[in-house]
């Protein structure tokens, strides 16, 4: 303090930059301060050195990852023909099959990936529209944060868990063996070579990664829909890490991983390894993710809704209330339509093959038809009940149809798609009623749409599979032929018996059950740590102001931010106004 008091500028800690500089000058002349300064500098240098060492170690580690991935550096003659070509202008080698097929399939997969990523816009708009304006900013930030987080986690280990080979429950390495018989680890995608393709699809691993990241992101965003308006942001971050880092990739591996136990179930293994229900003769089918993406998302959402409890002041129908009103139906319905558009990447893109042109055409048509009938069914059910053409019901209705058609889209006929879509449209209304009856607050209806209709879609394959399309799904070289080695998938209504239905029930039950149990545990722990729900006062103030410091429509409140701020009143040439009453009294206000 003695030193500081020498400075006239000192006013209790708030100093201008120039004052700080002159203070530094004073201090440097004092041996005691110099000693302190040296100690501080030493500490900072130590920190810097540790940081630099960390960066060095990280880059070395990255390099070693590549060395592991590419144990025998390719000889220049094989990979780099440019120099030889320049010297000898020979006629280019004729294009072989994969030269055309793989790029074509890759472009198709990437277009689909971009469309599926566009569904994030739809989800964000739908959720923002269906919530109250006081929690809109929270929805926006949460959805974007989920996307960023999911992208990184899916790169770090999610993709390896899900699409890597390993055992029936979790994966970690490239399914294709290296030349020396070893397997490349896929964590941080470190071992992916320029020519790596995903299994037999011929699509590059990184393109497949992008496509699957967009899917993972959908699953993680679906959960946030139910939890709008009361989840603390730290709770949101932590549960998102669990969902996109662990629950979705690991459970997804069971159905879609190259050796997932639901994917390989039903047939005895050839190499003596364990197979789930090896005598059943049918494996679990989920073409684009009614179960993997939507049921997982929906059931996590339900667990979140149960642990969080309703938003403050939410009264349920049986208590004489009803859902809290949405704040912008234009945004919500347009968001729903954008989701529909994105679904054209979600379902047809899941062929991962443009060569199966019959498949992508059929899938796209089925997707459309299911959405059409589902939307109509939902709005008519609501009309017959309340006499109004309800905007929220038709939106959630067609979304329910899209969720339902996601699993069976490849194996049903257009008529089947219409039927199963219409049923989904009815189911979603009654599922929402059930939620209301159970006093669970779901602002956007994520569980009725994704959780329940995800199950319905999965089961509907067992009923509506038309017996015309290959059970193994699409092929990367053309429309797959049906023969003894690749039989068609036939459901109950087309005379195929209950084999497919049984497999679907088992798969759906296992995935939804495991998801729900794990999610209940996860949210229970977060709740016990008091990280899950926002404080009472914070919720009264509104999520937006409390967590994000701004309202969604700041111009609509009488706001200082809207005015040109940073303009102080001219104090020199300012004379305060003299009011009439003051003139009479002869007093001028200073």
């Amino acid at each position: 303090m003695k030193l500081l008091s020498r400075l006239p500028e000192y006013d209790g800690g708030r100093l201008t930059f120039s004052a700080r500089l002159s203070r530094l000058g004073v201090r440097l002349r004092d041996p005691e301060w110099r000693k302190y300064g040296m100690t501080l500098m030493l500490g900072k240098m130590l920190g810097l050195a540790i940081l630099l060492l960390g960066i060095l170690a990280f880059s070395l580690w990255l390099k070693s990852g590549h060395a592991y991935a590419d144990p025998t550096p390719a000889t220049p003659a094989v990979t780099q023909p440019a120099t030889t070509q320049a010297a000898v202008p020979a006629t280019p080698a004729p294009l072989t099959g994969t030269d055309i097929i793989n790029p074509l399939n890759t472009v198709w997969t990437l277009i689909a990936a971009f469309l599926v990523f566009g569904m994030q816009v739809g989800f964000t708009m739908l959720e923002a529209g269906f919530c109250r304006s006081r929690e809109t900013v929270n929805v926006l930030v949460e959805c974007v944060f989920d996307t960023c987080l999911c992208g990184f986690l899916y790169y770090a280990w999610g993709y390896a868990f899900m699409f890597g080979a390993g055992n029936g429950f979790i994966g970690w390495h490239d399914p294709t063996a290296n030349a020396d018989g070893s397997f490349t680890s896929w964590f941080f995608l470190a071992g992916v070579k320029a020519t790596s393709t995903y299994a037999a699809t011929g699509v590059p691993v990184l393109a497949h990664w992008l496509f699957q990241f967009a899917f993972a992101d959908c699953a993680s965003t679906i959960c946030s829909g139910t939890m709008i308006g009361r989840t603390a942001f730290w709770g949101d971050i932590l549960y998102s890490v669990c969902v996109s880092g662990f629950i979705y990739p690991i459970l997804g591996h069971w159905c879609w991983g190259p050796d997932g136990f639901l994917y390989t179930m039903g047939t005895p293994s050839t190499d003596g390894t364990w197979r789930f229900l090896s005598g059943m003769g049918m494996n679990f089918h989920d073409f684009a993710g009614s179960t993997v993406v939507h049921s997982i998302g929906g059931w996590i959402a339900l667990a979140g809704g149960i642990w969080l409890g309703p938003r403050l002041g939410r009264k349920f129908k049986r208590d004489g209330g009803g859902p809290m009103l949405p704040h912008d139906l234009t945004i919500a319905v347009c968001g729903g339509l954008l989701l529909w558009f994105g679904w054209y990447g979600f379902n047809p893109g899941s062929t991962l093959s443009a060569m199966d042109y019959g498949g992508i055409g059929r899938v796209a048509a089925n997707t459309t038809l299911a959405a059409c009938t589902a939307g109509m069914a939902a709005v008519f059910v609501m009309y017959f009940r309340v006499g109004k053409w309800d905007a929220g019901s038709i939106t959630n209705g067609f979304l329910a149809g899209l969720v339902a058609i996601t699993c069976p889209c490849y194996w049903v006929s257009p008529a089947g798609a219409c039927a199963l879509g219409a049923i989904a449209g009815v189911i979603v209304i009654f599922a929402a009623d059930l939620l209301e009856h159970l006093r669970i607050d779901d602002p956007v209806g994520a569980w009725p749409v994704h959780g329940v209709c995800g199950i319905w879609g999965t089961l509907s394959l067992g009923l509506f599979a038309s017996g015309e399309y290959a059970a193994a799904g699409s092929s990367n070289t053309g429309i797959p032929a049906i023969d003894a080695s690749n039989p068609a998938l036939t459901g109950l209504f087309y005379g195929g018996g209950i084999t497919v239905l049984k497999a679907q029930i088992i798969g759906s039950l296992i995935i939804c059950g495991s998801t729900f149990v794990v999610a209940m545990t996860m949210f229970g722990v977060l709740n016990a740590l008091k990280l899950l729900r926002i404080s009472h006062d914070g919720e009264l103030e509104g999520m937006d102001l409390h967590e994000h410091g701004i309202s969604a429509y700041p111009e609509y409140v009488i706001s200082a931010l809207a005015a040109p701020h940073g303009m102080p009143r001219d104090t020199v040439n300012y004379t305060p106004p003299v009011l009439a009453s003051e003139k009479v009294a002869g007093v001028v206000l200073k």
């Binding site: 403050l312 009264l540 102001l545 700041p554 009488i558 706001s559 931010l561």
Partner: protein, 114 residues
């Protein structure tokens, strides 16, 4: 005849309406207003810059009542709108000179209604 002007927390509107309805006071005008008292508004942040908004969202109720309804109305508003924290609002009671019902042309305490 009195005009009761009550400024309350937005989330208490329903509770206040219910409490008033118990005393058969159902006619009122409600508006969304911004104002400030000792709560002194809130701060908004946008890209790291901070702006103070010195006004808070409140609901303003204007209720015209006959003399014998004044005390019940005030009592029920206070009971329903009180949270005990700063920002609960205020009630102003003003004299009301005259009142006309446009549909019938009635005046005075009849026009104020039930």
């Amino acid at each position: 005849m009195k005009m009761i002007v009550a400024i309350i927390r937005p989330e208490r509107l329903e509770a206040v309406q219910e409490a008033l309805a118990k005393h058969e006071i159902c006619l009122m005008t409600a508006s969304d207003v911004r104002g400030c008292g000792r709560q002194r508004g809130f701060k908004e942040n946008f890209r790291g810059s901070e702006g103070v908004i010195r006004l808070l969202s409140k609901v303003k109720l204007e209720i015209a009542v006959n003399e014998n309804f004044v005390q019940p109305a005030i009592k029920s508003i206070i009971e329903a709108a009180q949270s005990g924290k700063i920002g609960d609002g205020k009630i102003f009671v003003l004299p009301l000179e005259e009142c006309y019902r446009i549909r019938t042309g009635e005046t005075g305490s009849v026009a104020i209604g039930p």
